[in-house]
């Protein structure tokens, strides 16, 4: 049987952040918070990254072959029905990556304190290369 050692977990610098989240002691609450974070967070990310790219909802809709009304729904924090396939298409339109991974609640708490636009913005790949090489990169 494979075992996984949780090494140095107690030394995680973000673990202490859970002390500021007393409500999370209740499993029902922290699970509900996780769901709210996903529903609202995804909508928030789409909108920020679209605006940062100076893209209209219609332009994004065209890129992922859907309607403007669908983009508007996706950016509604109460929508909560984003499919992984759609998110992948949005990531491609943004030329950024999409990462789906399980995280500890301390990581979620830490991420929940970094919701400013600059924290949420996912740079397009070309911009990252420019920053790396110090010159413009064209397609």
């Amino acid at each position: 049987m494979m075992t996984i050692e949780v090494k140095d977990y107690n030394k995680s610098p973000i673990r202490n952040i859970l002390e500021s989240k007393p409500k999370w002691i209740k499993q029902g609450y922290r699970e509900a918070y996780m769901e709210a974070a996903i529903e609202q967070g995804v909508a928030w990310q789409i909108r920020i990254n679209r605006n940062a790219r100076r893209m209209t909802q219609t332009q994004l809709a065209r890129l992922i072959k859907t309607k403007q009304s669908a983009i508007s729904r996706m950016e509604d924090p109460t929508y909560g029905a984003h499919s992984l396939d759609t998110l992948i298409e949005v990531a491609k339109a943004f030329d950024c990556a999409l990462s789906v991974k399980f995280v500890s609640y301390s990581q979620l708490a830490y991420d929940s304190e970094k919701l400013a636009e600059s924290d949420i913005f996912a740079a397009p790949f070309k911009l990252e290369l420019e920053e790396l090489h110090g010159k413009e990169v064209h397609a």
Partner: protein, 181 residues
């Protein structure tokens, strides 16, 4: 293929990739306060009496967190808040039955805070209580006249007040240590 489509979309936009990116508006996170009623937090007391489900509470907490780093001009749809009057704003979230719950309040720039003063709901595009505007404005006037007397931090969402409390606790502990030795 995706890059060609993006290029076509931006054929009239600047060619410099850096110029394609709009600079985010940075803002120091808002503190949250609530109006008091006989010395107690009126909003916290109401929330407790409303017996919200955990899902409703989580929706509300997350809405607040999403709003914290946003400058006032971004307190608008589709973000979970809107300006609905003279320095009067509404925070939107829903409960597990999809009922549209609302909190009304205003900004107090002197404390970099948003003060929640009135609870309500929205149905068929109508806000309740129907006199929400008058209520929110009269409470704003009271709070502006005496911010420290009429409001308290909402939970721990005030970095200024909560830090002061923490500093006081730390000082007390240090004093106790010195006394013990």
């Amino acid at each position: 293929m995706a890059n060609k489509n993006v290029a076509a979309t931006f054929k009239k936009a600047p060619k410099n990739n850096r110029q394609l990116i709009a600079k985010p508006i940075e803002h120091s996170p808002w503190n949250f306060h609530e109006i008091t009623d006989r010395g107690l937090g009126a909003i916290s007391s109401w929330i407790e009496s409303a017996n919200w489900s955990e899902k409703t509470r989580a929706n509300f907490d997350r809405s607040i967190e999403q709003l914290r780093p946003l400058p006032k001009q971004l307190w608008s749809k589709p973000n979970p808040a809107s300006k609905i009057g003279d320095n009067t704003y509404v925070i939107r979230f829903k409960d597990v039955t999809a009922a549209q719950l609302r909190f009304f309040g205003h900004f107090f720039d002197g404390h970099n805070s948003f003060v929640i003063t009135t609870q309500g709901f929205e149905k068929d595009d109508v806000y309740y209580p129907k006199n929400y505007q008058a209520l929110a404005q009269s409470r704003r006037i009271d709070c502006d006249k005496n911010f420290s007397g009429k409001t308290i931090p909402f939970e721990t969402l005030c970095a200024i007040c909560c830090k002061s409390t923490k500093d006081d606790d730390d000082r007390s502990k240090r004093l106790q240590q010195i006394t013990d030795t």
